[in-house]
């Protein structure tokens, strides 16, 4: 299958960091990259969700940060002017009062995305990128 090797870059191998607001830990953050050889408009993402230590995260409390802006997960399909460069990480902020315990955690990222130029004979290729990685919360 084409595109498979690009999934390796989806989860950035950087520590998870707790998100602290005026001394109060409100959640945590990690980074992901677009799993392809080239960048893409965010509107090509058809589904995106996360699991931490086996628990699916409620997208209500997940914020998607890119290009100096912050988006809700529900806005993503409409973001046809927001380009995600292939080497630029997006910061995923998860609101979770108290944050994460320090130490190793398992993160799963699932992304279903449309390859927007593949409309040969009327069909767009849609890819499912699914990766799990162990990340350390500092």
């Amino acid at each position: 299958m084409d595109f498979v090797a690009y999934n390796e870059i989806m989860i950035c191998q950087k520590p998870i960091r707790n998100y602290v607001v005026a001394g109060v830990t409100m959640g945590y953050e990690f980074q992901i990259k677009y799993p392809s050889y080239r960048g893409c408009f965010l509107s090509c993402i058809e589904d995106l969700y996360f699991e931490l230590d086996g628990e699916r995260l409620d997208n209500t409390y997940v914020y998607f940060g890119l290009n100096g802006k912050q988006f809700t997960m529900d806005e993503i399909p409409e973001l046809f002017r927001e380009y995600w460069d292939v080497r630029t990480p997006a910061t995923i902020r998860v609101m979770c009062p108290g944050g994460l315990e320090k130490g190793e955690h398992s993160l799963r990222v699932y992304m279903k995305h449309r390859v927007p130029y593949t409309g040969y004979f009327g069909q767009y290729l849609t890819l499912e990128s699914d990766r799990t990685a162990a990340l350390v919360c500092e």
């Binding site: 299958m1 090797a5 870059i9 050889y37 046809f80 380009y83 460069d85 292939v86 927007p116 130029y117």
Partner: protein, 322 residues
């Protein structure tokens, strides 16, 4: 030695190094310079920061980098991202604007040719002619698998290229359309995804004999093996024929020398380079063939620089005989 064919490189060949951040754009330019390449192609959506709206500053600085590494800008690769929006495809106006933007960026960065895609449509392709003339930029459509010269829309494209667009509008055959056997990385992945090695060998044999799916259905194969057989036969059993290019070679402005994996300097077991290159020369092609390594879709542990070295050596041997 034939001197009408030049072997260039698409920086896309270095995708693994680029996306894993081992090489940045300048690193890619330095690497291809050190490999001895002159002509380069850039996939703008991949390596141009601020894409799709790069600044003049970046575009002019890029020219400086090409000068620094003694490289010639040959092809600016653009896309028709028809499916960008969730609610609808791009409109004609949007395709025109995105295409014109790419032509302008290409001009500013010093490229004489833009590669776009089949979805541009004959009507829009024709509308770009005045801009090509004004900017003195060639606009080409990539003919990529699963397309081939006998897909209906290409007859219209050829007519435009040979008629009112002559000299400005052309096409870029991607050698993927001539692939007749699965490559080694595809087979490695098939085993990793659950195919038994010996069953896969048998499927490749059935494929080489013509790809009779009934034989697979009747044989002792698992579901995943049958899936791979179906995909393999569908993808590689109907390659384009070189004779289909005889009457349209005057419209070929550039070539994507696609390859997936080479373990030697002599022969690609999947794409018939020994036949293709002499025939392209015989049919009158003069210009660049871009080395386009694409194994990075499958595995990141294949060294792109080694792959390009094999590719250049193989083509050099073929060209020396002409």
């Amino acid at each position: 030695m034939n001197n009408d064919i030049k072997i260039g490189v698409s920086l896309y060949s270095l995708s693994t190094e680029y996306i894993h951040e081992k090489l940045d754009l300048e690193g890619c330019l330095k690497a291809v310079h050190e490999m001895g390449y002159k002509g380069i192609e850039i996939v703008a959506a991949q390596m141009v920061p601020e894409y799709p709206f790069p600044s003049d500053e970046w575009l002019f600085n890029f020219r400086g980098l090409l000068e620094k590494y003694e490289l010639d800008p040959v092809c600016w690769s653009a896309y028709i991202d028809m499916g960008t929006r969730t609610d609808r495809d791009l409109t004609e106006a949007e395709i025109i604007q995105y295409t014109l933007n790419d032509m302008i960026y290409a001009k500013k960065a010093g490229f004489p040719l833009v590669r776009t895609q089949h979805a541009i449509s004959p009507a829009i392709f024709r509308k770009m002619i005045p801009y090509c003339k004004e900017l003195d930029i060639k606009l080409t459509i990539e003919m990529h698998w699963p397309h081939h010269p006998e897909v209906d829309v290409w007859k219209e494209y050829f007519e435009i290229m040979k008629g009112e667009g002559k000299g400005y509008l052309g096409f870029v055959p991607d050698f993927s359309i001539f692939q007749y056997m699965p490559h080694e990385l595809y087979l490695r992945q098939a085993v990793e995804f659950g195919c038994r090695k010996e069953a896969l060998d048998e499927i490749v044999k059935i494929h080489a004999e013509g790809g009779d799916m009934a034989k697979v259905e009747a044989g002792d194969f698992t579901e995943i093996e049958k899936h791979y057989a179906e995909e393999m036969f569908g993808k590689f059993n109907h390659p384009a024929r070189i004779e289909q290019f005889k009457d349209v070679m005057d419209c070929v402005f550039y070539v994507h020398g696609k390859f997936y994996y080479l373990d030697n300097d002599d022969h690609d077991p999947c794409i018939p380079y020994e036949e293709l290159i002499p025939k392209f020369v015989e049919y009158g092609y003069k210009g660049y063939i871009a080395s386009e390594f694409e194994g990075h879709h499958f595995y990141s542990d294949v060294n792109c620089v080694d792959q390009l070295a094999h590719y250049v050596a193989m083509n050099k041997k073929i060209l020396e005989k002409l």
